[in-house]
Amino acid sequence: MNVRKQAMTLTLNDELVEVLVKPYETLLDTLRETLGLTGPKEGCGTGDCGACTVHLDGKAVASCLVLALQARNRQVRTIEGLGTDDTLHPLQDAFVRHGVPQCGFCIPGVLMAAAALLAETPRPSDEEIRYGIAGNLCRCTGYTKMVTAIAEAAAAVPQGAR
């Protein structure tokens, strides 16, 4: 385990961050263990559950499958950077109002997947929403309220606002 750490910079939730990482370290571990952002969760560690979903240059990725060094000089956004300290993102707001979160463990990943979907497809159909979050497993909700909340958040954002 005597592997030298390497310094790298990345833009994390709109702030430039410098961090020391081991070459084998995943982006998820760096975010959670070194940078203290525990919003992204490890539900499987093999890219099957989506709980660790973050944005890498605006695209949704499973951060358990990305090496930290792959994020060097790139833009990373986590659930902590989806809204602001004072205001929830429309998706977050809709999730709260519709009572979507139950245990809550999958929610950060689902929201990041949904945000990436809306960035690409601002007015998704229900089917597009269902496929957009198909990589995110949820065991509590049965997905129905989730789909409703995402559709409502999409409809609430004026066209072209993104």
């Binding site: 385990m1 919003g39 245990c103 463990f105 929610i107």
Partner: protein, 770 residues
């Protein structure tokens, strides 16, 4: 019924209120155990057996201990508390000289980093002598099968008691003739042989539901830390902190007062986080290193060595008359418990023998041990599997007799007051109401048109429904309600909120006391500060803890009114609470605010007693809760692929305290039920190794697999629940396997008796029918 008159305009029971922890959850700020740390934290990893059954010849930890960064390596030899004949998984902390399932922990490491602990596992050398494994429960029952438990190990029935609270005639609890049969039970009534002899139609099928995993997204996790006086603190993902404390105290042989369990946000449990699992070994590593230690299971470990639901095999034989009269039922249920005892045997007999009115029945049940991970509860334990058998069977009988399947069920469905198999009367329930309601649904009424639209570019179309439920769990509990100096109300319980129950409990407190919900705070305390309470399991939190909160709030209200009565020189009966003020009824100007009463209870030299409502009820009356589910499907006859077009859940909630939360339970439970029906199975090879230890290969349903789940809440008040409420968590996971099998039967004409209803099984059955 303990409903009391409430004041005007109180926002409480019956309103859809989003959970107050929503904002913390959507921003990622809620902390689960794996998100927590402590100064000097060490990380734990467990070395697990690759073999299902083997003798441990020797373990060499020398090289692992020498690895820099490793702080402790433990084997069974280092833990004097360990004993042979461990009655539960929790007691079998590490294997002593024999492993009994693939995935059983053999050694444990604590290290500075998780990666170092992982590397240390590779440096531990274990020599095994591999032994034949009992993998198939039916073979494991036979004499001469490889033994699982040590002879004389006690059966574990504690889970059954907490969960289903059904008294049953029990057979032998200790291992019977065949060493791997750990429990048996039997119930009988009437002359079964005569019933079959007089029947016009005798139908027999064997139904199978494999082991399935609860699939909570958060793997088991615990953080353990000791102080220098020998007191242990556990931050745990648990469904019952007092239960965790008792189990860990028992395994470690220390007093419960030396352990504080802090229940951390639970990322899903569904029954799988009731029993202690990794808490004892993590505590032992923390004791050995004198450092805080965190252990988080991997998903692979969860699937290979969690505590899944048992495999259930039910041979069911029934006899009926041509006119549909029920004559006799004979059943044998086998519950595969894995390497340790602990299943719920009674539930199966109740639903098989007494959901419908069988004049004669003979039901036997066995719990069988195999060399697989031991099982635990999974939301309505054994009910989905049992309803799969009896409801599929009722549907087949109705079809064979050309009777309307809903009418056939309704005609024979037992009513409240009629005897269950154990001769206890069925308590008040809404089984008839949910069945009637779902039969009125347009999708049911239009089922013939849907079926006729098969072909012409479409697959084979069908509709199916099923009825199932849950008897309702019971466990004593306690709660306190205190009036704060500013007139707000604080509710304290030890009940872990795994299902949105805290907001509903706050709603109950608000309504019972007579205060707006915004003025009520509810706290789940740790085991040091909270009054005793039971598990968050068995759909009993609102039914039991809700009753405790209701009584404690009424008690606090009474104290408040008595204080106000003195001050206002009025009698208690003439007082009411309106807008945060106690007033004489009809004289709104004459009053005293809750804030002033609260303040006087905490004022220097005050003679006014603080308001503290207390309740600590125990229970004897269950409140069964039923759900009916309907599926509209389409099957591709060539590939066997099933498309689910519509799915409806009708459920009796008694009184929906928070309809938004009830809907969430109904939808989530339905999708877990659909997972059992369509995709989920833990699959083992002949040597007892799990073949699908990842969420890629163990397929739970995704958003893309499903339609919207329609929910219809029916309210048949329970005579004893708070405001008439019944439990809502378990019923929705029960009916779907039967509903889907019935829908596939409707569409294709084939009857499948084994789930999951995979494309392969469906296509082969269609091909075999020709």
């Amino acid at each position: 019924m303990s409903t009391m008159k409430t004041t005007r305009d109180v926002r409480g029971v019956g309103l859809s209120i989003p959970r107050p922890d929503g904002p913390e959850k959507v921003t990622g700020r809620v902390q689960y155990v794996a998100d927590m740390t402590s100064r000097g934290l060490l990380h734990a990893k467990l070395l697990r057996s690759r073999h299902a059954h083997a003798r441990i010849v020797g373990i060499d930890t020398t090289r692992a201990k020498a690895l820099p960064g490793v702080r402790a390596v433990l084997t069974a030899r280092d833990i004097p508390e360990l004993k042979h004949k461990a009655p539960t998984r929790a007691h079998a902390v590490l294997a002593i000289d024999r492993v009994v399932f693939a995935g059983q922990p053999v050694a444990a490491v604590a290290a500075d980093e998780a990666a170092i602990a992982e590397e240390a596992l590779d440096l531990i050398e274990v020599q095994y002598e591999v032994l034949p494994a009992a993998v198939d429960p039916l073979k494991s029952m036979q004499p001469g099968a490889p033994p699982v438990a040590e002879l004389g190990t006690e059966a574990d029935t504690s889970e059954a008691l907490a969960h289903s609270a059904v008294a049953m005639a029990k057979g032998e609890a200790a291992p019977a003739k065949a060493v791997n049969i750990s429990q048996t039970a039997a119930v009988k009534r009437g002359d079964v042989a005569k019933g079959f002899a007089e029947s016009d139609l005798v139908l027999e099928h064997t139904y199978r539901v494999p082991m399935v995993h609860q699939g909570y997204l958060e793997p088991h996790a615990v953080l353990a830390e000791w102080d220098r006086a020998g007191n242990l603190t556990l931050w745990a993902s648990t469904q019952g902190s007092f239960n965790t404390r008792s189990e860990v105290a028992d395994v470690l042989g220390i007093e419960e007062n030396r352990i504080k369990v802090i229940p951390v946000e639970c990322g899903g449990g569904f029954g799988g986080k009731i029993r202690a699992l990794c808490e004892p070994i993590t505590a032992l590593l923390a004791r050995a290193t004198k450092r805080p230690v965190r252990y988080v299971m991997t998903r692979r470990e969860e699937l290979e060595a969690g505590m899944p639901a048992p495999q259930v095999i039910i041979r069911l034989k029934t006899g009926v008359k041509r006119d549909g009269a029920l004559m006799a039922l004979e059943a044998e249920t086998v519950l595969e418990s894995g390497a340790f005892s602990g299943t719920v045997l009674a539930v199966s007999a109740v639903f098989l023998g007494s959901l419908y009115r069988w004049p004669a029945f003979d039901i036997k049940g066995s719990e069988v041990l195999t060399h697989k991970p031991s099982v635990a509860a999974y939301r309505a334990p054994v009910a989905p599997q049992t309803i799969f058998a009896i409801d599929s069977h009722m549907e087949s009988l109705a079809r064979a007799l050309a009777l309307d399947p809903v009418e056939f069920r309704r005609r024979h469905l037992q009513k409240p007051g009629e005897p269950m198999v154990n001769n206890q009367p069925w308590a008040s329930n809404g089984a008839h109401e949910v069945l009637t309601r779902i039969a009125e649904h347009p999708l049911w009424k239009e089922r013939e048109a849907w079926k006729k639209s098969s072909g012409n570019g479409h697959g084979l179309r069908g509709t199916g429904l099923a009825l199932g439920g849950w008897l309702g769990g019971l466990q004593p509990t306690s709660a306190t309600v205190k009036l704060n100096p500013d007139g707000t109300l604080a509710v304290l319980t030890g009940q872990v909120d795994i299902a949105g129950t805290n907001i509903a409990l706050a709603q109950i407190a608000a309504t019972a006391y007579g205060l707006d919900i915004d003025k009520v705070k509810i706290t789940t305390g740790d085991t040091d500060v909270a009054p005793l309470t039971g598990l968050s399991a068995g759909s009993k939190t609102i039914y039991t803890v809700g009753t405790a909160v209701l009584q404690a709030a009424q008690n606090a209200r009474q104290q408040t009114l008595e204080i106000a009565a003195k001050e206002l020189e009025a009698s208690v009966q003439d007082l009411e609470i309106v807008d945060g003020k106690v007033i004489v009824r009809g004289v709104p100007d004459k009053g005293v605010t809750l804030a002033s009463i609260g303040k006087k209870g905490n004022l220097y030299m005050s003679k006014v007693e603080p308001v503290l409502g207390v309740a600590h009820p125990a229970f004897s009356q269950q409140a069964p809760a039923f759900a009916a589910q309907l599926a509209r499907i389409e099957v591709d006859p060539d590939t066997g692929q099933t498309t689910l077009h519509d799915f409806v859940v009708v459920q009796d909630a008694g009184h929906a305290i928070n309809p938004l939360g009830v809907e969430g339970q109904m939808q989530g439970g339905a999708v877990q039920s659909l997972g059992i029906a369509l995709t989920e199975a833990l699959m083992y090879d002949d040597s007892g190794r799990l073949m699908n230890p990842s969420l890629l290969d163990y397929r739970t349903l995704t958003a893309a697999d499903l339609p919207d789940i329609e929910t219809i809440i029916v309210e048949v008040p329970s005579p004893s629940g708070p405001y008439g409420a019944r439990g809502v968590g378990e019923p929705p996971i029960v009916p779907a396997p039967a509903a889907l099998a019935n829908a596939i039967h409707d569409a294709t004409g084939v009857r499948l008796t084994e789930v999951p209803l995979t494309p392969e099984r469906i296509a082969l059955a269609i091909a075999a029918k020709g």
